[in-house]
Structure formats: C-alpha cells, structure tokens
C-alpha cells in the first residue's frame, strides 16, 4: 500500500514526494506558444517537470492544458518557443520521445471493432516485436492492473466511459514508460475508480520511478497525489510550484502560522501576545475569539526558521496558556486555485 500521511487539513495524501529540486527535468518548455488564427491557446509556457514526480496541470476548460500536452507529443506544432522531453526536442525528435512516453487522451477513443485485448496488443506492437508469449503476458498484467480482465474480449465499442478510461490507462502504461502524460485521467470515473487511478499513479511513481504529468479539474485529487502543480488560465501560466509551497499562505518572505489556544485569564493571554509581538521576526498577530472561550491567532513571521523553532515555545512559556492547535496556515488547493485565477484574470499576477 502507498504511504498514507495526513496534512493539517486532514486530507489524506498518497505519499507525495518532496519536490526534488535536484532531480533532472524530464519536461522543459521555454516560451512555448500556440495560436490558432488570432486565438492564443498557449502563451509563452515555461514549464519544468522533475523526474520521478507527479505533476498536476490545472486550469479551467479552454486553459490550454490539452494543447500543451499535444505540443509535447508532437501532435501539434508550436507557433513559437521550444520544448524538450528527456532532452529531445519536441518538434524534431518527437519519435524518440514517443518511444519512452505513455499518453492517455481526454475522452479517449479506440477502434470499436477491436476488443480490449486486441487494443492493447495493437499498442504493444508499436513498442515490442515479440516474443508473442511475452507480449500476451504483458497484456494480461495490464488488463488485471486496471480491472478489465473479465472484459478483455469484449468489443471496445460496447465499453462505458469508465471502462474506456481504464483501458486508456492500461494502454498508456503498456510500454512501461518513463513518462506518463495523462489528460484528465479520472474524469469519467466514479469515486472508487478515481481513488484507484490515483493509487496507480502513486505506485507507478514510487515503484517504477515513472514521472507523471497529468491534467485534471478535480482539485481534491491534485492535492492528494501531486508533488508539484502548475496552474494555467486562458493559455497563461499563473503559477508553478511544489504543492506544499503553493498551499502555504503568506506571500514572499512571510510565513503565516495558526494557533488555537486558551488562557486562564485575559491577562495571561495578553502576556503571551506581548511576548510574541516583541520578537523582531514577528510582523503581526491577529486574535479571533472562538467558541468555548478558545482564541484563534494568526501570526505572520518574517523569519520562518526562527518562527518554526521559537514561536510555540514562546507561547507555552507563558504560564496558564494551553495550546490546542499549532501549525503553518495552509490554504486548500481550491482556495489557491481560485485566488490565482481571479488575480490572473485581473492581471495582478
């Protein structure tokens, strides 16, 4: 089973990796732009996806996510800018790229006259010349992986949206790719199916060192499984950061902490407030009353290291104060997403 950890907001995560700044970039784009007539589908995208990470690509409909993926795979040509995958140019060397990549399209379509097994065999033969027994074994494993073994010999035209999505995942990983590019991989799935897809993605990263670059609308999924995130709106990149960084509130040079605490008296709490405010690395402290006499503090610190080490200690050093909750304030991905989209729309980013 994947490592299950719990963040402060109690959302389970599937063992998200550290960002791995030192890991080499698998995908890199520089000023990647695509226009259709007068419509700019993608505007000067600068992207860097690190090896062995799960990279969530977020944005509303029409943001340019699918266009970016098609450009990376050589299915469309950039109007300007450049990009590389595994160091290979996405325009002139896309054949070499496609040998090492697995791709699942949004709303995937396959040949209706083929069965699921025939579809996977068709895909496998682009990568492997044989022997037949080894190819068949790979097909069986892939079918089992996505739970389609019992429907392996049914024609694809009779498949539901969810079954097509599962088949899509199976065909995308049939060549044991170093990079998976998944366009809305969980879009047509029920909650169980979504969970399974996320687990498979986490396993592929953890057990196979596969890098996964995927787009989705489902923000909760991104938060659960992604190491890094990019947010795109109307073709423009609004943000790109490790997920933890994106969810941390405060802005440049400021870290925001949340404390829940009780004091034996107002005087005790005032002492604690004064003690905290007197620190040179504290820029503000706001207090809000909560139910049952509890207080909620929002503390902004300019020195994260000093705050991490001393803030809680300072508060607890005041006799008669009990701290029931402490941590860096994090926003949900949904809050960060809408915040960026709204700021991006007004040109503030």
């Amino acid at each position: 089973m994947p490592t299950m950890t719990t963040t402060r907001d109690d959302r389970p995560t599937l063992g998200a990796h550290s960002d791995g700044e030192s890991a080499p970039a698998v995908i890199e784009t520089s000023g990647l732009t695509k226009t259709y007539g007068h419509v700019a589908a993608l505007k000067a995208l600068d992207l860097s996806v690190r090896k062995n990470s799960i990279f969530g690509f977020l944005g509303p409909n029409g943001a340019g996510k699918s266009t970016a993926m098609k450009l990376l795979l050589g299915l469309a040509r950039p109007t300007s800018g450049s990009g590389s995958i595994f160091g290979n140019d996405i325009v002139s060397e896309n054949f070499q790229i496609r040998r090492r990549v697995g791709y699942l399209a949004q709303d995937p379509r396959y040949y209706g006259h083929m069965t699921a097994r025939e579809t996977l065999r068709f895909v496998a033969r682009f990568f492997y010349s044989g022997p037949e027994s080894a190819i068949e074994r790979r097909l069986d494993e892939s079918l089992l992986l996505v739970g389609l073994s019992d429907r392996a010999d049914r024609r694809v035209r009779s498949f539901s949206g969810g079954e097509l999505q599962r088949l899509g995942l199976a065909q995308a990983q049939i060549n044991d790719p170093e990079l998976l590019i998944l366009d809305e991989p969980a879009a047509s799935l029920d909650p169980m199916g979504r969970r399974d897809v996320l687990e498979i993605m986490a396993r592929l990263r953890d057990e196979q060192n596969t890098t996964i670059f995927y787009s989705t609308h489902i923000l909760d999924d991104v938060q659960r499984v992604s190491d890094s995130v990019a947010i795109l709106d109307r073709g423009r990149l609004l943000a790109q950061a490790p997920i933890g960084e994106l969810l941390t509130v405060g802005g440049a040079g400021v870290t925001v902490y949340e404390l829940a605490l009780r004091g034996q008296s107002g005087t005790v709490l005032e002492q604690a407030r004064t003690r905290v405010r007197s620190q040179s690395w504290i820029s503000s402290l706001d207090e809000f009353p909560e139910k049952g006499g509890e207080r909620h503090w929002i503390v902004r610190a300019t020195d994260q290291s000093a705050a991490d080490e001393n803030l809680l200690r300072l508060v607890l050093a005041t006799r008669g104060v009990k701290v029931t909750g402490f941590g860096r304030k994090r926003q949900s991905l949904e809050e960060a997403f809408f915040d960026l989209i709204e700021k991006g729309g007004s040109g503030e980013v």
Binding site: D107, F122, R125, I135
Partner: protein
C-alpha cells in the same frame, strides 16, 4: 483495479532505477527497431477493420451484382435478342458494360469506404491516439493506401472480373482474350488507385467528409463532361480508362490518348501520395 505489486509480485517492479535491474519479462520483450515504424501493425489494423465489419460482405455482394452479373446479363440478353451475334459480339457487349460499370464502381467504392479513413480518424481522435505511439505519420497514410487498395481492388474489380470472365465463357462459348482482359483490368486498377490516392489527399486536406466525397465524384463526373469539350485533357487523367480497357479487350490496342493517360495517371498517383504524406506530416491532430 489491482496494484502492480499485486499483479506482478513484489520483485518484478520494485526496481530502484529503471533499466538497472530488469524484470524477467522486460528482458524477454524485444523492442521494435527504429523508423519508419508501425507500418506492419497499422496494415494489420486496417486489414482487421475490413475483415471485422459487414462492409467486406456488403461491398463484395453489391459490386459482384453490379459489375459482374449485370454486365454478363446484358451480354446474354444482347446475344438472345440478336441471333446474328457472334461470340465476339457478345463478348464486346459484355466487355463494354464491364469496363464502364467497373470504372464507376471503383470510384463509388473508394468514396464510400475511404471518405472517413483519415477525416474520421482525425475527428474521433484515434489518429492522435495512434500517433502518440512510436508510429510514423507516413506509415499511417501508406497503410491505408495499401490496405484499401488491396480490398477495393478485390471487391470491385478482381472477384467480379473472375466471375464475369467465367460467365462470358459460358454465354459466348469463346471468352475474351485473357491477356488483353487482364491488361484492361490492370488499367481499371490504376484508375482505382488514382481515385484512392485523391481521396486520401483530400482526407488530409479537409476536416469534413462532404468536400472529399464531392471532390472525388466531381472529378469523375466533371471528367466525363470535359471529355466532350476538351478531349485532349483526357490524355492526362484516367477519365476514359474504361474506353482504354474496352478497346484493349475488343480491338487488341489502346488509343493514343489512352496510352498517354496511363503513365500520366501513374504520375498523378505519385504526386497525390507525396502531397498526402506531406500534408499529413504537418497536420495538427
């Protein structure tokens, strides 16, 4: 869904670094060589598509009836109606029908079967899916050209020709000269390839089927009309291939315009295929 660990066992996939400790199955699987890649696989898929659906049987029955049986029936009726007809006269009557119907049938079959060959795949997204794998765009187009030519040739011309020839041998008691008949058939086959190449070129050019169907039919019908007003143009295109075939079978020779139109058509086919490959190479999927 099952985890890979559950599927493969803990030791199969748990490698720390890719390719440093290959699982047993990876060693066993042999990677495909370099480009041009995927042509065999794509040919297999196109063949499977022809064989899987009802279209093979439908095309086979329709064109057998129209090209072979109607042509032979016309020859039979003419022979019955004209007691003075020699076996050659009966053969000539049948041959005219066969070459006219075969020529038209091949164009209709090309449009019916291939109007969605590339456009349909572009619209559905299957072209993008296939070409996200290590398959060359050239292989994608050439596989369609080869397989559609094979099956369309078989259902519109070859099988009907075999049946027609057998029936003519029975009706006239003296079948047409076999080599000349084969030569005429080869001319029709070249015409079929011309319209197929044109259809694929239009498929790489347009995004909907209407212009493709209109373009191919329009070219054929327009050619028949142009032949009346600018006969010299017929030397450049396969519009009068049915006449060339007919004359070859009935008179043992091809008229001058027909002789020129054969290499000219071959040249057009090469141009169309090269243009189709070039266009599809740049297509946005």
């Amino acid at each position: 869904m099952k985890s890979r660990e559950e599927v493969l066992g803990p030791n199969d996939r748990g490698t720390a670094e890719k390719n440093t400790e290959k699982p047993e199955e990876q060693v066993a699987l042999e990677p495909v060589g370099g480009p041009p890649s995927g042509i065999r696989n794509l040919v297999g898929k196109e063949n499977g598509e022809w064989a899987a659906g009802p279209s093979l049987a439908a095309h086979g029955i329709i064109w057998m009836f129209i090209v072979a049986l109607i042509s032979a029936a016309v020859a039979f009726i003419r022979g019955e109606m004209e007691p003075g007809y020699t076996p050659k006269d009966i053969n000539d009557a049948g041959a005219l029908m066969f070459f006219v119907l075969g020529s038209v049938a091949s164009v209709i079959a090309v449009v019916a079967k291939t109007q969605g060959a590339i456009i349909g795949e572009k619209q559905l997204g299957t072209a993008a899916w296939v070409l996200s794998k290590p398959a060359s765009r050239r292989a994608f187009v050439l596989a369609k050209l080869a397989v559609h030519f094979r099956w369309l040739l078989a259902v519109t011309l070859l099988f009907p020709a075999l049946v027609f020839y057998g029936l003519m041998a029975a009706i006239s008691t003296l079948p047409p000269p076999p080599l000349h008949f084969l030569g005429g058939l080869a001319i029709l086959a070249l015409g079929l390839l011309f319209y197929l190449a044109l259809s694929l070129l239009l498929g790489t050019t347009f995004e909907s089927r209407g212009p493709l169907a209109g373009g191919v039919f329009g070219f054929m019908v327009g050619g028949f009309m142009i032949a009346n007003y600018a006969p010299w143009l017929t030397a450049a295109f396969p519009w009068l291939f049915f006449q060339s075939g007919y004359y070859l079978v009935t008179r043992g020779q091809i008229p001058a315009y027909g002789l020129i139109s054969i290499p000219a058509t071959a040249l057009w086919i090469i141009v169309f295929v090269l243009l189709a490959l070039r266009r599809f190479e740049r297509a946005e999927l």
